[in-house]
C-alpha cells in the first residue's frame, strides 16, 4: 500500500508540464456557486442567466450594445392591437431545438404557461403584465398572441419577454417526455438539462466544479466560432488571477478592482468594462426622524464626497451617477448636481432644526467596498457634527431589517431586473402607503417615502406608448426623486472582466446576462 502511494506521488511529481487550452475552447474562470439550477422557470441570479443565455432563447432580443433597440429573436416580427393590449408574435420558421425538434408556437405557449404554473419567485416579472395562462394563445403553428392586463410600452413588453429565464422558450416535446405525475412540468429534469435552441448545448454541469457547453451546429443564425465553452468554478479572485496569468483560463470573471487595474497596460491581456446597470446608494428612512425631514436628506446629499468614493474606494470601478436610471438605459437623466459642499449642507441642517447635528446608526453589509463607503460617509458627516455609528452585518440579516423598514440609514445596491426603466422606477419611486397593502413593496416602500403623485406617474410611464412622452415622464420622476427622495445615489458600478487578448468578439452587455458568446472567437 505504502509503495503504491509513494509510487503515485512520485509519478505525479515527475510528469511533464500540462497542455494548453485548445484554440477552439473558451475557458472562463468564475464563481459558479451562485447557480441553483437551470430550469428557466426559476433562473434569477445574474450568472445563472448568463450561462443559460448561451442555450436558451426568447421571443425578442436587443441590438448589441443598445438596449433601447429591440431586435427579433425567435419571433421575426410582431405587432400590437389598436387598444394596445394584444401583442401578436410571428415565430421564425426553421428554428431547431438541440433535440432536433422544430420550434413552433406550441413551444412558446407551453414555455410561458409553464413558468406561470410553476410560479417560482421570478414570475412576478411576467405576471405583473400577463398573470393568466389564458392570456397566451396559439393562433397558428407560427403565431402567438399575448394579451396584457393594461397597455404596455413596446420596450417594456420586449424587456419582459426578452427576460432570460421565465420567458425562455423550451422544447415542449422533450420536456413533456420527462414529466411525471408528481412533477408534471419536469422541473426536476430541467434543473440539470437543457431543452433550448441557443448556439450552445449544455452537456455537463457538475455543481460548483465545472460547466461544459458545446456548439450547436444547427443554430438558426449559424454555428458559433468556438466549439466548446468550459466554465470552471474558481471561487477565489486571487486564484482566478493566477490562472489567467498562466494562460490556464481565457477569461477571469470576478477579479477585484485593484486586480483589474494591474491589467490596464499589461501585454497579452485586455480589460472589458461597461456600466452594469446597477446603482449604489445611501438610503434614508423617510418615515423616521431625522430623515423624515426633507432638508436633512438634502443636507446629507450635499455632505458626501462622491469623488472620494468613486476614485478612492472604487478605484475607477464605478462612474458618476445620481439618478436611478443608469447610463445607457432608456430614460436616463444625466444630471449629477450633488458634490461635497459642507457650508451648504450645514445651512440645510440648521434650517432643519439640527444645528449641532445628531447621532445615527449606518447599516452596511460586510462587503469590503460597502464598509469602506460607510467609513467615508462617517467621516464626511462628522464635518456636519453628525455622529455616525457603523453597524456591519451579513447580507441576510441586513436585508431582513431593510425589508421590515427597521433601518434608519444604510448603504446598499440595486440592479435593473429587466432592460426597461420601469424595472427601476417601480422600486425607487413607487410608494403610496407604507403599510403591507402597498402595491409595490420595494425601495421607496422600505424607506417609507410616500409620494402618490409620483407613484401614479410611474404607472402612467409604464403604459405610455409614445417613446418621447415616456422619456419625459421618466425624466420628471427622476428629478423628483433626486431632489426629495430618500436616497443619495453614489455611483453606477462598472462591470469589469479581464481576458487574454486572443479572445475576440467578446461584448459585455450592460445587463451581464445578455452577454452572448456566439460571436466570440480565439486567435490562439
Amino acid at each position: 500500500m505504502w509503495r503504491l502511494v509513494v509510487g503515485l506521488v512520485v509519478l505525479g511529481l515527475c510528469l511533464p508540464a500540462l497542455g494548453q487550452i485548445p484554440k477552439d475552447t473558451l475557458v472562463i474562470g468564475a464563481r459558479t456557486g451562485i447557480i441553483v439550477d437551470f430550469d428557466p422557470a426559476r433562473i434569477y441570479e445574474v450568472f445563472t442567466a448568463f450561462v443559460a443565455e448561451q442555450f436558451y432563447e426568447q421571443l425578442v432580443d436587443f441590438e448589441r450594445g443598445d438596449f433601447t433597440k429591440i431586435e427579433p429573436g425567435i419571433a421575426e416580427s410582431w405587432e400590437v392591437s389598436e387598444d394596445g393590449l394584444t401583442w401578436t408574435f410571428h415565430i421564425r420558421k426553421g428554428v431547431k431545438f438541440h433535440s432536433g425538434n422544430e420550434l413552433t408556437a406550441d413551444d412558446v405557449v407551453y414555455s410561458l404557461r409553464r413558468s406561470l404554473a410553476l410560479n417560482f419567485h421570478p414570475i412576478w416579472i411576467l405576471a405583473q403584465y400577463v398573470p393568466d395562462p389564458d392570456m397566451i394563445q396559439k393562433i397558428d403553428d407560427y403565431t402567438v398572441a399575448i394579451t396584457t392586463t393594461e397597455p404596455v410600452a413596446e420596450l417594456t413588453i420586449a424587456s419582459v419577454l426578452g427576460f432570460q429565464g421565465i420567458c425562455s422558450i423550451v422544447d415542449s416535446e422533450l420536456v413533456k417526455a420527462h414529466a411525471t405525475p408528481e412533477d408534471p412540468w419536469a422541473n426536476e429534469w430541467l434543473k440539470e438539462h437543457d431543452a433550448g435552441s441557443g448556439p450552445f448545448k449544455l452537456v455537463r454541469w457538475v455543481r460548483e466544479e465545472i460547466i461544459i457547453l458545446e456548439r450547436f451546429d444547427d443554430y438558426w443564425e449559424g454555428p458559433a466560432s468556438i466549439k466548446r465553452i468550459i466554465i470552471k468554478d474558481i471561487p477565489d479572485p486571487a486564484a482566478q488571477k493566477l490562472a489567467l496569468d498562466k494562460g490556464d483560463i481565457d477569461i477571469a470573471w470576478d477579479l477585484l478592482p485593484e486586480q483589474v487595474d494591474m491589467y490596464r497596460d499589461a501585454a497579452g491581456f485586455k480589460v472589458v468594462e461597461t456600466p452594469a446597470w446597477g446603482i449604489t446608494y445611501v438610503a434614508m428612512n423617510a418615515g423616521k426622524p431625522p430623515f423624515d425631514n426633507e432638508l436633512v436628506r438634502d443636507a446629507i446629499r450635499w455632505a458626501i464626497d462622491y469623488d472620494a468614493i468613486i476614485y478612492g474606494i472604487m478605484k475607477g470601478a464605478a462612474i458618476p451617477g445620481q439618478t436611478f436610471i443608469p447610463k445607457g438605459m432608456f430614460g436616463h437623466l444625466p444630471e449629477t448636481p450633488y458634490h461635497k459642499d459642507i457650508e451648504r449642507a450645514k445651512k440645510l441642517l440648521t434650517a432643519a432644526g439640527y444645528p449641532e447635528g445628531f447621532e445615527v446608526e449606518l447599516l452596511t453589509t460586510d462587503r469590503p467596498d460597502r464598509v469602506a463607503i460607510a467609513t467615508q460617509i462617517q467621516a464626511d458627516l462628522a464635518e456636519l457634527g453628525i455622529k455616525v455609528n457603523i453597524r456591519q452585518m451579513v447580507g441576510a440579516q441586513f436585508y431582513e431589517l431593510y425589508r421590515a423598514q427597521k433601518h434608519t440609514f444604510l448603504v446598499a445596491g440595486w440592479g435593473a431586473d429587466y432592460a426597461d426603466p420601469d424595472a427601476l422606477a417601480k422600486p425607487f419611486a413607487h410608494c403610496c402607503t407604507t403599510g403591507p397593502e402597498a402595491k409595490v413593496r420595494q425601495l421607496a416602500w422600505r424607506n417609507m417615502y410616500v409620494d402618490c403623485d409620483t407613484s401614479i406617474l410611474v404607472e402612467q410611464a409604464a403604459r405610455e406608448l409614445d417613446a418621447t412622452k415616456r422619456e419625459q415622464m421618466y425624466f420628471e420622476i427622476q428629478r423628483r426623486v433626486l431632489d426629495k427622495g430618500p436616497y443619495a445615489i453614489l455611483y453606477y458600478p462598472l462591470r469589469q472582466i479581464v481576458m487574454r487578448d486572443v479572445v475576440k468578439g467578446f461584448h459585455l452587455a450592460h445587463m451581464e446576462y445578455y452577454t452572448e458568446l456566439w460571436e466570440v472567437s480565439k486567435t490562439g
Binding site: 475552447t25 410560479n119 490556464d248
Partner: protein, 324 residues
Amino acid sequence: MVLVVWGVVTITFFVARVIPADPVAAILGPQAPQEAIERERARWGFDKPLYVQYARYISGLLHGDLGVSLRTRRPVLEDIKQFFPATVELGLAALIIGVVLGIGVGVISAVRNGSLVDHASRVFAIVGLSMPAFWLGLLLLLIFYHTLGWLPGPGRLPYWYPLPPRITGLLLIDSIIAKDWFALKSFLQHLILPAFTLGWLSTASIARITRSSMLEVMHEEYIKTARMKGLRESVVIMKHAFRNALLPIVTVVGIRIAYMLEGAVLTETVFAWPGLGRYATQSFLSIDFNAVVGVALFMALLYSFCNLAVDLLYAYLNPKIRYV
C-alpha cells in the same frame, strides 16, 4: 452516540433558526418582491411554528431524509454524496503527508534533542501551526504554479479538460475506470499543493506530539535496558521507544483525520477544490437551514466514528487496555 447525534441536530436546528435573518430572503436575493418571499416561505414550511418544523425534520430524519437544501434545491444527502468524495481524496492525501512528515520530524527531533535539527524541526512545526491555510495555499500557488510553473494551479484537473464520467466521485478511481490516464496523471499533479497545504497543518501538530511523547518514553528505564543489552539504536528507537510513544500520537492523528475529512474550508476555497468544506461554508453563509443541520449531523457522525476507531486502536496498541 445516538444521544450525541440527537444533541447536535437539536442544537444546530434551533441555533440556525434563532439567527435574526431570513434564509428565504437570503436565497432569493435583495431584489425579490416581498410577496415572492412570503410565498416561498410557505412553500418551505417556514411559516409554521418552530416546534412543528422541528417535529417534521426529526420525522424525516428517522426515515433517512435530511431535507432539501434551500440553496441547491436538492436533497442534502445527495449534496453530501457529491461533495464528500473530493474531500476524502484531499483529506487522505493530506493525512499521509501529515503522518509521514509529522512522525518523521517528531522522531528525529526527539532523538536529536537540543541539536540544530531539533530546533529546525520545531520551527517547522510552529510555522505550520501558525500559518493560515489560505495564505500558505496562495504562497505555494505563487511559487510552484505561477513563478516556477512546476505544478498546476487550482482545481482537480486542467480547467479546459472535461471530467471523466462520475462513478464513485473519487477522481482517482473514476479516471482509472474510464482509462483516462491523462486525467489520472493530471489529478495527481493537482493534488500535490492542496494536500501539502492541508497536510502541513497536521504535520505540525503530529510532529509536536510525537516529539514530546518520544522524549518522555526515551527517559524510561526499559530504553536504558534495551541499550545496555547492546541493541542497535534504530531498533531501540523504533521498536522500544516509538511503539510505546504511539498512544498520544494516535489520538492526535484521529482528531486530524476527522478535521481533514470534514473538509478544510480555506484550503478547498483557495484551490477551488469542490469538497464538503466549501459546501458547508456556502450553506452557513446563505443560512441554508437543512444543509447546515445535515452537514453538522454528518460531521458529528464522522467525529464519533473517528473517536471510536481511535479507542479500538488503543486496545490493539496497548494490550493492557481492554474494553468490557
